[in-house]
């Protein structure tokens, strides 16, 4: 009930013309990012941060969050129409969505995806309203050891699920943490690893680094192997038939549940919920042979799970201050740029902002539904944009974004250097997600660790004698052990098969 009262005041603020305009702009830009192949939600959100510099904190976060979930939906359009996923989470939608398009049912596929996304997003936002206040109150009892253990657990979850080598994922985590420590030591004020360069005293800018790793690196990979347009299909009626509605109802419900629960776990990523939802539908179906040939449940379930995941993944960020994916880490960076630290204290200190942002999730989902059903033809036409213009435009926005952060060329240089690093690491297959999350969590982790050790006069026992901290660290150790065993089992299966 307490959440509903706050939500009512949040709606009053989210429905002001200015905030509605920010949500609308975010949804439009996000869908555009999702539609354009080669530009994922992380890169898109990062390069559009400069657009929010002149906005107040609430408007900026509303717009960036809308860009995020808009991009998650936008990827569906390309998956269905040209068999090219706009972002990784839409890969599974290609299986049946494109087949439906080839049978002249592209409209129904996109229609059910929009409706499923709406249901999943609204349910996850409603659950956020219920879950957030008690969880935030509980997290207020956390001290530095608990916060350190929580962030450590978050990193272990991301690391454990990233890539095919646990050691490589851990290595990227350590690298991200070290890069996060460049700058003035927050506790003693001593400069560290700055080479006497004044621009490094504030640390490496998170936005230029992320723009480099995701934006510039992405474009370098695209220019190396340009994507080609595949068969284009015509768009017809958006409304599914009665039979298709009947088949989609259960899939939407199950997709919502899967997306929501997996969204609560940092590191899962949007791909796993979509595949799980698809596999579950196939298992439950009386005609599993239809999957892959244009089954509407194969579109409804993963698309619903995708959007439920996108909205639910805001819960760990807003309530605990732990980002669950690179895109959410970029959103956390936007909070920090605006002088806000996500977590339980934000609920206490800025309830006006938090609840306006939460209310904007509902508003944004409605906007996405309204935007995507009638305007899907317009989005489809954007697919004709040649990739060369997309690449040049993206690089232009990267330069604008990196420069406008502090008005120095240094950040543009940082972006280019990390663009090259990101390109090489991605070519080799090193996972970047752990490095990005570590980069944003690094300063908070160090501060929590050192404050904890100051509290205990240097005794590491403080982390295991406090029950919550000990439980969180035990979970982290368990996750790392399970991940190592899972990867070892996978390797032995592959070894046996070859």
């Amino acid at each position: 009930m307490e959440g509903l009262q706050y939500l009512a005041s949040g709606f009053a603020s989210a429905l002001t013309p200015a905030n509605l305009a920010f949500a609308l702009a975010g949804c439009v830009l996000g869908t555009l990012i999702g539609v354009l192949p080669g530009l994922g939600p992380a890169a898109g959100t990062a390069i559009l941060i400069p657009l929010t510099f002149t906005l107040d904190a609430t408007g900026a976060i509303i717009m960036l969050a809308a860009i995020y979930y808009g991009a998650m939906y936008g990827g569906t359009i390309t998956s269905v129409l040209i068999n090219v996923p706009g972002e990784a989470a839409s890969v599974v939608t290609c299986l049946d969505g494109y087949q439906m398009a080839r049978q002249g049912r592209a409209g129904a596929a996109l229609g059910i995806a929009a409706i499923g996304s709406f249901v999943g997003g609204v349910f996850a936002a409603a659950a956020l309203v219920m879950v957030a206040p008690p969880l935030a109150r509980f997290a207020l009892s956390f001290g530095p050891p608990e916060f350190f253990a929580l962030m450590f657990l978050g990193l272990c979850l991301v690391t454990g699920l990233a890539g095919q080598s646990l050691a490589a994922a851990l290595l990227m985590t350590v690298l991200g943490l070290l890069l996060a420590l460049i700058g003035i030591d927050p506790v003693r004020g001593a400069p560290r690893f700055t080479f006497g360069i004044p621009e490094l005293y504030d640390g490496l800018g998170f936005v230029p680094v992320v723009m480099g790793l995701f934006g510039v690196a992405e474009i370098l990979l695209v220019v190396e192997a340009p994507f080609r347009r595949l068969v284009e299909t015509k768009l017809s009626g958006l409304w599914p038939s009665a039979e298709e509605w009947k088949r989609s109802g259960g899939a939407i419900g199950r997709g919502t549940a899967i997306g929501f629960f997996l969204g609560l776990i940092p590191g899962v990523g949007a791909v796993i919920p979509t595949f799980m939802a698809y596999i579950l539908e196939k298992r439950l179906s009386k005609h599993p042979e239809r999957f892959g040939t244009g089954a509407i449940e194969g579109v409804a379930a993963p698309e619903t799970a995708n959007n439920a995941y996108a909205n639910a993944s805001m819960i760990p960020l807003l309530v605990l201050g732990v980002p669950s994916s690179p895109t959410i880490a970029i959103l956390m960076g936007a909070f920090i740029i605006n002088g806000l630290t996500p977590g339980p204290f934000l609920f206490k200190e800025r309830p006006d902002l938090v609840w306006t942002v939460i209310a904007s999730f509902f508003v944004g989902n409605v906007i996405l539904l309204v935007l995507n059903l009638p305007l899907v033809g317009l989005w489809a036409r954007l697919l004709r944009l040649p990739y060369q213009y997309l690449c040049a435009g993206t690089l232009l926005f990267c330069i604008v974004g990196a420069y406008s952060l502090k008005g120095t060329l240094f950040d543009v240089g940082v972006m280019l250097v990390f663009g090259i690093i990101g390109y090489l690491l991605r070519k080799l297959g090193f996972p970047l997600a752990p490095a990005v999350l570590a980069l944003i969590l690094g300063p908070f982790m160090e501060k929590s660790l050192r404050t904890s050790l100051e509290m205990s006069a240097g005794d590491f026992g403080i982390f295991v004698t406090r029950p919550i901290s000990a439980a969180l660290l035990a979970c982290a150790a368990l996750i790392l052990a399970v991940s190592a065993l899972r990867l070892a089992a996978l390797k032995s299966i592959r070894g046996g098969g070859s």
């Binding site: 290595l171 100051e454 006069a457």
Partner: protein, 145 residues
């Protein structure tokens, strides 16, 4: 280039980075009167990174990584040309201003990527230079050089 060679080179660079961080951390204090010093966290992270780097290096060298594709293929020409354009434009961004720098960079990028429609290139470059400057500097009040 074989994947193994690429990973070995990358790991060698990373090991050098961790060695640098460890060395620099030792120059800062690991402990002081209040507890852990500025070098404490980065030093132990560097040690952990170095250990992981060595473990991976050994795994890769023994062929235990199980790469999906055994070779790395690079199309370096377009990548190098795009990067060169970005570096030059960045170097001259403040000297000649955003509008002129982008007016030169955008047609260059489009040309490198294979566009030969001069009218479209011109219109895109004008929109990307003067248009974007007007939107960011004029409307959004984001300062650009």
């Amino acid at each position: 280039m074989p994947q193994t060679r690429g990973w070995q080179a990358a790991l060698a660079v990373l090991l050098a980075v961790f060695a640098f961080f460890a060395f620099e951390s030792l120059r800062l204090s690991l402990r002081d009167a209040l507890g852990p010093g500025p070098g404490f966290f980065p030093f132990w992270l560097s040690v952990a990174g170095g250990f992981l780097g060595v473990v991976l290096f050994v795994q890769v060298s023994r062929g235990r990584m199980g790469f999906e594709t055994p070779t790395l293929t690079f199309e370096l020409r377009p990548v190098a040309l795009v990067l060169a354009g970005l570096v030059v434009a960045t170097a001259f961004l403040e000297a000649i201003g955003f509008r002129l720098a982008m007016l030169l960079l955008l047609p260059y990028l489009l040309f490198v990527l294979g566009v030969r429609n001069w009218l479209a290139m011109g219109l895109f470059s004008l929109a990307g230079s003067f248009g974007v400057y007007h939107v960011f500097s004029g409307l959004l009040k984001v300062p650009l050089p």
